[in-house]
Assembly symmetry: C2
């Protein structure tokens, strides 16, 4: 008998069907016993007239008749006629699967990742993350962007050698890319004009904070023929509006599970754009002392301000001073055509227009202590005609974290890597 | 004046418009001069009444009136009133952009990647590749698969330590993952049941062949609750039918440029499935000598056979012997529930059902000289109830190569990595 998914059980009332999944919960009442079965689509109650001889998490194929029962989850249950064990689970589960994950700490969740992901609430983080990637790509395809896949093994860093992981590569050494910056600019210049990439990025930094990962997924965008950073903020607002609206439409169940909400398209459209200098003033005023940079505390304060003034917890900060941005950022006087996006107190995006004119780039390098040779071919992109362009990157784990209200970004990484964690 | 894309020029006859792009070709006839302008959407003829003072590949913004001209590409041209240079190109182009790429060799193409990608025919390889990824994901989302992003930094290899690149990771060493095998199995077992990943895979092998890369993109699939490898071959045929049909519908222009065709859904449905033993017999017969494995020569021969017998250049080979497959492959007597897919003489997929029962896995390990401890947590997936499952991977660069008929897989990698090539 071919398998029926649990979500479709109501279509089979009074029919004999087969369900397959994991034993999620067992309730033994003596004569009649109940098992909650879990598959990818949901959970169903199984009724056993007699004893149930399975352990939690055992994988079974059960056949029987579907009957209505107002007391069962979703109003239906399966009266089991036959149970076939597909794979027995050992009885010593390292973490319970069928409890609210707030009952155990993040270390227990991550140390036992292979089992904790079975918890439906924890797994839902990654169902949502898959959809974030999907909506990101859908929106950009509709805007004539091309997806690229670039090498993560680079001969040298465009931003100097600090923070790079070294790889033994045959008889030489290469590094894991910190971002696809170099390559996405090259692809704009190649004539693709509009590109995006969903790929891994690596930072060899000894952070131990709830906002950093040493390996993360970067949703990268680069676009040619722009005027300034406002074109990029417009694009990002378009992406976020679409992404949030689709999440609301298709995954309100996950939002409910986490007691979360996403900004509406109207909310996103109201997100203020304030200059870095102005942002510092606002934060200084609210904190009652002068701040000199937008640090994590300031990111929280500026989002509180945006919520009060604009009713949205998204703020663009633009016009960062030149010395706070990488050499390739396009200047606007002493400022730059750059921006960050802060969402619910956390920076989720950095971006800006890049220098595209070769003479301007050559003039800029020495000011940052760089040489053309030291950049390993980077300047070739500009020597032969590169249009005005810019781009940005959204941290996938960070936006996932902030949508669901997770306390640590590591919870939004399937198999997070930090200074100490290299498995599973 | 806002920019018009070249593909839309016919909508603006006798109007003043602005085009932006690269100077692709210049033809000076004295009084009247012509420039072919290239943007992401196509090429257009610009008419200058007077001299043209730009170099090839310079990026310009040109304004003027659109007029009909049956002799111009697409039947229209722009009579230029104003030219604004956005970025000047140096005159010493390392490779010509406006010539047929068959005029220069693969080394010149790859050494000058940043410029050779401007060639529209070369760039079209990566437009197609972007679409292959898109159709792959679309089909699988429609079949209820979830996209995952797994770590590429692993503590040890599931298939032993050979062929792994070593990474200095703070005070320890990790390795670049050869495949997401471990993780995609973990995600099936976690209850997601059906997952896919589009990500980098690394092989530290000293190949120098037209079919190998040291870093490539793997289109990975894993599915729970299967019976045997036929479920997987059915799924792959579904993916390929969809992918090829969408390419035919939307990108026949790229196929024409490369004088290429894709198999129809009927072709894919006819792809034979032959056992490894039978495949060796067929190849032996055709070569007139006994062969002992399906090597690259045999892959070509078996595809010739399939073309003659079934009219399709796709062949599934299944039931590989146990000693030819990794330890985790599900046994079927002395054979295994495994398969390869050969497309136009090249293996593009390896897959199979995996061992899901913990006792069977424990019994298998010593036969392959492995221990549970040595696998670094791999067996935890199975200890707590893992459904029958299997999966496969399609090499993105290989399928791109074979669709377009490229002679070397490196041509289908934006920034290929081999023993000697680590830039750009």
């Amino acid at each position: 008998m071919s398998r029926v998914l649990i979500k479709d059980i109501a279509d089979h009332v009074e029919q004999e069907i087969t369900l397959q999944g994991w034993v999620h919960r067992i309730r033994e009442l003596g004569g009649i016993n109940f098992v909650i079965l879990r598959d990818r689509s949901g959970q169903a109650q199984l009724v056993y007239e007699g004893s149930v001889d399975v352990t939690l998490e055992t994988v079974v194929s059960v056949s029987g008749r579907v009957q209505k029962n107002v007391k069962a989850p979703a109003g239906f249950e399966l009266l089991v006629a036959e149970t076939r064990v597909l794979a027995t689970a050992a009885p010593d589960l390292p973490v319970p699967v069928n409890q609210d994950p707030k009952n155990f700490g993040i270390e227990a969740i991550l140390d036992n990742r292979l089992i904790s992901l079975r918890n439906p609430k924890i797994r839902s983080i990654f169902t949502l993350q898959s959809e974030i990637c999907r909506y990101f790509a859908e929106y950009l395809h509709n805007q004539d962007f091309t997806e690229i896949k670039t090498s993560k093994l680079i001969g040298s860093g465009t931003e100097g050698g600090t923070g790079l992981f070294e790889v033994e590569y045959f008889d030489t050494k290469v590094y894991l890319a910190q971002s696809p910056q170099f390559y996405k600019q090259a692809m704009v210049s190649s004539g693709m004009e509009r590109v995006f990439e969903v790929g891994a990025a690596y930072r060899a930094e000894k952070h131990e904070t709830p906002r950093h990962l040493n390996e993360y997924i970067s949703l990268d965008v680069e676009m040619g023929f722009i005027e300034d950073e406002h074109d990029l903020m417009d694009l990002e607002s378009g992406i976020l509006s679409y992404m949030f609206a689709r999440i609301q439409e298709e995954h309100s169940d996950i939002l409910e599970l986490w007691d979360a909400r996403v900004p509406s398209p109207e909310d996103v459209a109201r997100a203020p754009r304030i200059a870095h200098e102005e942002a510092k003033k606002i934060v200084s005023q609210r904190l009652g002392r002068r701040v000199f940079e937008i640090n994590p505390e300031a990111e929280r304060v500026i989002c509180e301000w945006a919520m009060e003034e604009y009713g949205v917890d998204l703020v663009y900060i633009n016009e960062f001073p030149r010395k706070k941005r990488p050499f390739y950022t396009y200047p606007k006087g002493l400022k730059t055509m750059s921006f960050d996006l802060i969402f619910r107190g956390l920076e989720i995006t950095t971006g800006g227009r890049r220098i595209n004119e070769y003479p301007m780039l050559l003039e800029t390098l020495p000011r940052f202590g760089l040489t053309e040779e030291g950049l390993g071919g980077y300047t070739d992109i500009f020597k032969y005609g590169c249009p005005p362009h810019g781009g940005f990157a959204i941290g996938l784990e960070r936006i996932t974290q902030k949508i669901l209200g997770l306390s640590n970004v590591k919870e939004a990484s399937l198999f997070p890597r930090d200074r100490k964690r290299i498995k599973p």
